[in-house]
């Protein structure tokens, strides 16, 4: 009995300890941002590995998500004779929800796990302590450029996801199923609001980029420096990022679109 209580207490304390360390780590990142901005080349190389290399998966899944929505939406809407609203349905679901959320989940799987594994391995092979020995701040040199890169990348990826998804819906709805071309775009333009829908979607993806980068880097930086520790940290990155993104998405949606 006492043993169970002890374990529970230990787990709770461990949770708060990690939470606190995570936020202190974030402050450490913020403090080193000015130093990184002087050397934009560091960010540029990270933009390549975080953003450009994630692009193929975003393009392909965006296209297919849009095509599936076009197909499913058409089959439902045609019963009500409202298939002209297909464009609205596809665009609103992509811009408001699916674009930011699915892009963030794919980002966690493709880029977040890679970031964690990379930094965890740097820690395991003592490259980070090596930098400290040479009076190079590893947070500034390694962590912050990656953080800024994911922060910049995710809104762009989400926008690309939404745009290509809408074209996917267009291909299926208009080209294959014969929805009126003009009604598809006109109703979409009528119902999708730049302020209310597109901007809010971008705000969401900015928040997700922030969170996804933060979790991935923290898990890597905080990993137990063994092979098993790095692999556990990588798993945790994907799981935690997905959970936090989905939870935050509900909160943000309630704030933006609720009364």
């Amino acid at each position: 009995m006492l043993d169970v209580l002890q374990k529970l207490g230990k787990a709770t304390l461990g949770f708060f300890e990690r939470l606190g360390r995570g936020h202190l780590f974030l402050l450490q990142i913020f403090a080193t941002i000015p130093g990184v901005l002087i050397r934009p080349r560091l960010i540029l190389t990270q933009l390549y590995s975080v953003g450009v290399l994630t692009l193929p998966i975003i393009l392909v899944s965006g296209l297919f998500v849009g095509m599936v929505m076009g197909l499913q939406g058409y089959n439902t809407l045609v019963d009500f004779g409202a298939e002209d609203s297909l464009g609205v349905m596809v665009a609103l679901s992509l811009v408001r929800e699916l674009g930011p959320v699915v892009a963030a989940l794919l980002f966690a799987g493709r880029a977040g796990s890679a970031l964690t594994a990379e930094i965890g391995l740097m820690k395991a092979t003592e490259q980070l302590s090596g930098m400290e020995m040479m009076a190079v701040d590893p947070v500034q040199r390694v962590v912050t450029p990656r953080f800024l890169a994911s922060f910049i990348t995710l809104p762009l990826l989400a926008a690309i996801f939404s745009a290509i998804g809408i074209y996917g819906g267009y291909i299926v709805g208009v080209e294959l199923l014969g929805v009126d071309d003009g009604a598809f775009w006109a109703q979409m333009q009528d119902k999708v609001d730049l302020q209310g829908d597109v901007y809010n979607g971008i705000i969401k993806s900015v928040v997700f980029g922030f969170v996804a980068g933060w979790i991935a880097l923290y898990e890597g930086y905080d990993a137990v420096p063994t092979a098993a520790g790095v692999s556990r940290a990588t798993t945790r990155t994907v799981v935690h990022t997905s959970l936090v993104v989905l939870g935050l998405d509900f909160v943000l949606t309630a704030l933006m679109f609720g009364e």
Partner: protein
């Protein structure tokens, strides 16, 4: 990794992202302008426009020939004034053309249907369509139906 490849890759990526944002802003949301230069304007007064909106289609025989470009209320005539921009390749509508507001499908969007008359004179830019028929408002239709049903049931 070659420096040049990195730079080109990042450049392409950022350009693609910004192009998508631009596309979302202009093409998808209601910011883009639709009134192209090769169109002319007709107006029509309606007693009730129902759910008609700016950018709703204007059709003739089911073919789209233009869009609603503005909706106003005329407080002298107590009616809604709808401005339509019609593509200029469809410029042969007779003077006694009539305009009605219909609904596409049961729950679909509302649109203006033009029906050409038999006059020899054609409508020109800025002219007003004289014969109009308002939108059907569901409550009124149901009210009339209930009225006639109770009257007939006696």
């Amino acid at each position: 990794m070659n420096n040049r490849t990195v730079e080109i890759g990042v450049g392409l990526f950022v350009a693609l992202g910004l192009a998508s944002l631009f596309m979302l802003a202009m093409q998808v949301s209601n910011l883009g302008t639709v009134t192209s230069s090769d169109s002319y304007v007709l107006t029509a007064g309606f007693e009730n426009i129902g759910g008609l909106k700016v950018r709703s289609p204007v059709t003739v025989s089911g073919v789209r020939v233009g869009r609603v470009s503005a909706i106003d209320y005329d407080d002298n005539a107590f009616e809604a004034v709808v401005t339509m921009s019609i593509y200029s390749n469809y410029d042969g509508f007779p003077e006694d053309t009539s305009a009605s507001i219909f609904t596409a499908g049961l729950l679909g969007e509302q649109y203006i249907a033009l029906e050409p008359g038999g006059s020899m004179e054609n409508l020109a830019d800025g002219d007003r369509v004289q014969l109009t028929q308002s939108a059907l408002v569901m409550e009124q239709v149901i009210g009339q139906f209930l009225y006639s049903a109770t009257a007939g049931g006696e």
